[in-house]
Amino acid sequence: MERAKCIEMIYPELEDKLVVTIMGACAQELYNLGHRENFFYLQHAMGLASSIGLGLARHLPDERVIVLDGDGSVLMNLGTFTTLARYRPTNMIHVIFDNGSLLSTGGFDSQTTSGITDLAAIARGAGIEHVASADNELQFGEAFLEALELDDLSVIVAKVKAVGPDHYGMDLELPENAFRFRRFIREKKQAAAP
């Protein structure tokens, strides 16, 4: 299964959600489908995408937050599972694309290669109740739809191939992305205010 296919599959569902992605391939593959103002690409600070997601979800209870994460990033912040479990943002879905590789930084194997480390088991062990693993597109699609229907925190670990896009580059400066993402949220809140 390819991450790009998974992202393409859920792309229509992301239209009305707040989306935070990690750096590199994941960000680029989402961007290539068409940038939206509700997308924030965390192009560095590996590990913090889910922490940003928690900060968003906790303070915007009427929004759904989707975090598109990766094994290399999550491995840098395993404590995030424990904080997510403790505060249980019911409006957040944490998708982890596990390619067993630090693909964007040279393709070295990560600790999840060949199933040595099981991120889904770690998430469960941290106390997250709804954790799904997906090995193919059908399983991923089902897990994502199930998570959307659930009014609770979900983690989906999707095993994907270690392949990325054929080019990198966005017509979007990093602070510009932050400013526009914040403005999008503010305007949406203002529009919803009575």
Binding site: F40, L42, Q43, H44, A45, M46, G47, L48, A49, S50, S51, I52, G53, L54, G55, L56, A57, R58, H59, L60, N77, G79, T80, T82, T83, R86, Y87, L174, P175, N177, A178, F179, F181, R182, I185, R186, K189
Partner: protein
């Protein structure tokens, strides 16, 4: 020396007076009484992290959400959070208002705090993070309010170092 009950209260009231109701923290001794107040106050949302760098992400999320937020940590926690400070907050222009317990400085009896204490100010300078020392309970509320205002106008991390004078009786 015991942690100052009165000054912990003054700092907590200062945070609330600055209009901040969202707090992330990793508990440590000097912050204990302060965090107890945050936990007991129904108007304040306290998020305890497992490691301080998480709080940088949470603060960014709160900022995007338009929610005034303050981070409480020990200086060693700040040292552990630096990549998030640099490569999330500074890179993207996201303000952080950090209250940092300044351990390992004048009067420090514990050897394990000393190295972190000695380097804290120089690390803040190296990162171009504006900071002030908070020593006087009569001034700390204003310092918190000013730190928050400056973080928002400069879109930058700002630190207020809570000193022994303030935190211990």
């Amino acid at each position: 020396m015991p942690v100052s009950y009165e000054n912990s209260k003054v700092i907590f009231e200062g945070i609330k007076a600055a209009g901040i109701k969202s707090v992330s923290a990793l508990p440590e001794t000097w912050l204990g009484l302060l965090l107890q107040r945050a936990e007991d106050d129904p108007d304040v949302d306290l998020i305890q992290v497992a490691k301080e760098e998480e709080a940088i992400g949470i603060a960014a999320g709160a900022y995007f959400a338009g929610e005034p937020h303050i981070l409480l940590m020990q200086n060693h926690g700040f040292l552990a959070a630096i990549n998030g400070v640099v490569s999330l907050a500074q890179l993207y222009g996201i303000p952080l208002c950090m209250l940092i317990a300044f351990r390992g400085h004048w009067g420090e009896p514990y050897p394990w705090h000393t190295r972190g204490g000695i380097v804290t100010e120089e690390v803040l300078r190296a990162l171009s993070i504006p900071f002030e020392l908070a020593r006087d309970p009569d001034k700390v509320a204003q310092q918190i309010s000013e730190a928050y205002t400056f973080s928002q106008s400069s879109l930058s991390p700002v630190a207020l170092l809570l000193t022994r004078d303030l935190m211990e009786d």
